[in-house]
Amino acid sequence: MNEGIKKSFNVREIREQFPALRQLIYGKSLIYFDNGATSQKPKSVLDAINTYYSHDNANIHRGVHFMSQRATTEYEQARRTIQEYINAEKSEEIIFTKGTTDGINLIASSYGDLLLPGDEIIITAMEHHSNIVPWQMLCSRRKLVLKVAPINQKGELIMEEFDKLLSDKTRLVSISHISNTLGTINPIKEIIAKAHKANAIVVVDGAQSIQHTPIDVKDLNCDFFVFSGHKVFGPTGIGILYGKEEILEKMPPYQGGGDMIEKVTFERTTYNELPFKFEAGTPHIAGGICLGKAFEFLKTLDMDAVQAYERELTEYAQDMLDTFEDLVLVGTAKKKTSVVSFNVDDIHPFDLGTLLDRQGIAVRTGHHCTQPLMDFYNIPGTVRASFAFYNTKEEIDVFIKAVEKSINMLK
């Protein structure tokens, strides 16, 4: 795949490639606005899953036989596809994981072993539980200090406060690129530069950004970038941890087992080289290969056009929702994308979500795994519509009418 085959952005053509979008829910055409939770899969990924299990299934890295070799080649090709997509220096820097949560836990557990009592970690007030709890666990295990950078009412990081938290004790900053609840796009390039100046490393939680914006880890200069395959049009149960080679080399293994070793005796075991040092056991081979296919699919799209289109959808939905009296948008950052969270007066998000569901519209309701953020806004949860490039303005129109109908029923 190269630049030459990129097509101009055509939502009708794109929708054709996502079979799950064409179905009736309670007799109505599905409107899938829960992309922040997981994305639908293009046909190329679905076909690859089928092809893998019906043709190529074999264990990798160890087999001498033809099928094992073939599966190994495909799996390693997927690694290189992803490496190229995010512009990592080497394929050794691409570790297959189970997903974002797994990636963060790997870093917290392994890099965490290099930290000393009193060292400080900074996260932000808008983080997902998976970017809070692993650090809390690490802090209690290694007697570290967890600091939380505050946000303003719009849901933007207060940079002056972040600056104040950075000190010579800061060893690690872990931050979401895009907030799953608010859609806020954090200024991660600036944060990375500042953290590096303080000699701290930076983990970027890219769970909500990899599918919406072009990612260049070299340009960002982040130390780690983690994401989940299923949110970027690939299968569930597979994800990626990108880490700078020199840091990954310093880190002890995360889990022990097959594939991650060089030589095992009962007296002493030496470990395999990168990336296998961090990939114990038979991996999710089909997942890895098909995640590669998802990125091949993404490479056919013009991501700048995708970004512009998604921003347009978000702004349109937001402007339409803003016309409702008593509706409060949660998360109104100047730089935001793809996520519109809101509440209506005394209506519980769960009720609104239930009635939208009955109208064939899939949204997420609840705290979105960001309870501290809900506490900050003093709300039990929100209704969240999150868009992907296969959504349309026409769908938003139907959604707006459904919201209106639901509010009328509940008031």
């Binding site: 309670y26 519980h348 998000p349 769960f350 239930t354 009635l355 009955r358 949860g381 029923m409 509940l410």
Partner: protein
Amino acid sequence: MQEIEIMSIEEKQREIIDEFNVFEDWMEKYEYIIDLGKELPLIDPEKKTQDRIIEGCQSRVWLDVEFKEGKMIFSADSDAIITKGIIGLLIRVLNNEAPEDVAKADLFFIKEIGLQEHLSPTRANGLASMVKKMKMSAIKWSLEHGK
């Protein structure tokens, strides 16, 4: 209300199914449930205590169980109105019934009126846990009273 008291759990469920049969679409059904939820002051605010809370992932349910003359008296509430309306139906069916009847009650009406998804244990609204707690209280009472 004399008739309601002598109706069995099964009869009360049949009555609800009949009521729901007149609704022509999902909207009427939900409007009815929402109205039920709005009408019913289901629990004494003083009883909305931490120990009576059943945490769903999304909506919260409070349940209080009392025993009067061998019958169970339930009061409950929820912060979500649809959940509250369905609680109203469940209480209508199970209130004033003997613990042994509550324990073995088959709540078929929920499926019949097309609300089964609300009672799924994965639904995260706390309703499945509430029904479980109602039944466990009934079983516990029966055991304590040698029934």
